[in-house]
Symmetry: C2
Subunit: 221 residues, 2 copies
């Protein structure tokens, strides 16, 4: 080609690639940690799954990369009293790259689940990688164990003074919208005190992980 | 440009656009209905949310576009007997564009939730648009009511002969991996018989929708 055509072709190529390059520049490189609400490019940044045989590590991984989960509580609603009730809650176990394994919540007494917890604090939280792009990219069905999910039973309690700062930072950095929620809803920080852990990450049924094994996992950043 | 350069530029343009054009051709145009496991392009195809004040329609919408949910049951596990238990299940209410509102499941007696249901069939299913890209694209936190989610309480039972064909087709077309799951797991088709519906799609607390209102919604395709 003549050099003027080469320049035209380069200009065409650059104009086609420019949006993609800009998207790469603005995507947070720190990994998916809940800061991608609105930032579609960041959804691609789920770190690799730990070895599936290390169930405790897989459990910590799932807790850390998930932004939300479903919490089961015993219903106090007249219509369905005593039945198992399920609801969706946002959560965070720590800032991106610094997960503690403790699921923190930002709750209001106006929420149905919180009314239930006030009568009986026992609850079960489930979190699945199906909420990330991991399963979709690998072609794993949400109900396949390969699309790893975990089940954590325990009690939900208010966070005490010592933990308050970490809970607040963990939640607000990954759920910045929370900072705008109306104070009239009497929001408070809560946590799940985990007593039982089941990990479904491979065929063969749920693996039991003890809280001790779960909290003993360390991640090197 | 000389005509040979125009041809070169067109060839360059075509080669750059070709992958995108192929992706558009293979992405199911029928809307996100669970067939995108592995097909990242299809994740963009969530139809627009119905008007939020039409809570019954919003509920039907959420049920239809969701591929999975969390089911709360009363635990029969010795470790946590009588507590509320939560697990993740794939589901489908119908083929893409033909949702019935009935959540169908493909279950095995080996699953923890199924052991629980065998003792007490009362359960609550929750599904959230947070599992699609809707909330992420709009910048809605998963716990914001704007990131709509619904809560359906009722009983889970095996599907009868009349419904078997529709349940099977609904599930297998959206969860093709299910066709490969081992028969040794004694899979069966089940459904949630809905008695209570709560819709959280706007500020002001949960909206109650009756099963009659829910099933009276019609979608024109």
């Amino acid at each position: 080609m003549a050099s003027r055509s080469r320049a035209s072709a380069r200009a065409l190529l650059a104009s086609l690639l420019a949006p993609a390059l800009v998207a790469l520049l603005v995507a947070p490189a720190r990994g998916r940690g809940g800061r991608d609400h609105g930032d579609w490019a960041a959804a691609a940044l789920v770190p690799p799954l730990p070895p599936r045989e290390d169930a405790a590590r897989v459990a910590r991984f799932v807790t850390h990369v998930c932004d939300w989960g479903a919490l089961a509580t015993l219903s106090t609603d007249q219509a369905v009293r005593g039945w198992a009730f399920a609801d969706v809650l946002s959560l965070s176990d720590g800032p991106p790259g610094a997960g503690s394994g403790v699921p923190y919540f930002y709750l209001s007494p106006l929420q149905q689940s919180v009314g239930n917890l006030q009568e009986n604090p026992h609850a079960t939280l489930t979190m699945s990688l199906a909420q990330t792009n991991f399963c979709r990219k690998q072609g794993f069905d949400p109900q396949s164990p390969l699309c790893a999910h975990i089940i954590l039973s325990g009690t939900v309690t208010k966070v005490n003074q010592t933990e308050m700062g970490f809970a607040k930072h963990s939640l607000f950095v990954r759920h910045p919208e929370m900072k705008t929620w109306p104070s009239s809803h009497n929001w408070f920080f809560a946590k799940l005190n985990i007593t039982n852990i089941w990990v479904l990450d491979y065929f063969g049924g749920p693996k039991i992980v003890t809280p001790e094994e779960y909290y003993n996992v360390t991640f090197h950043q």
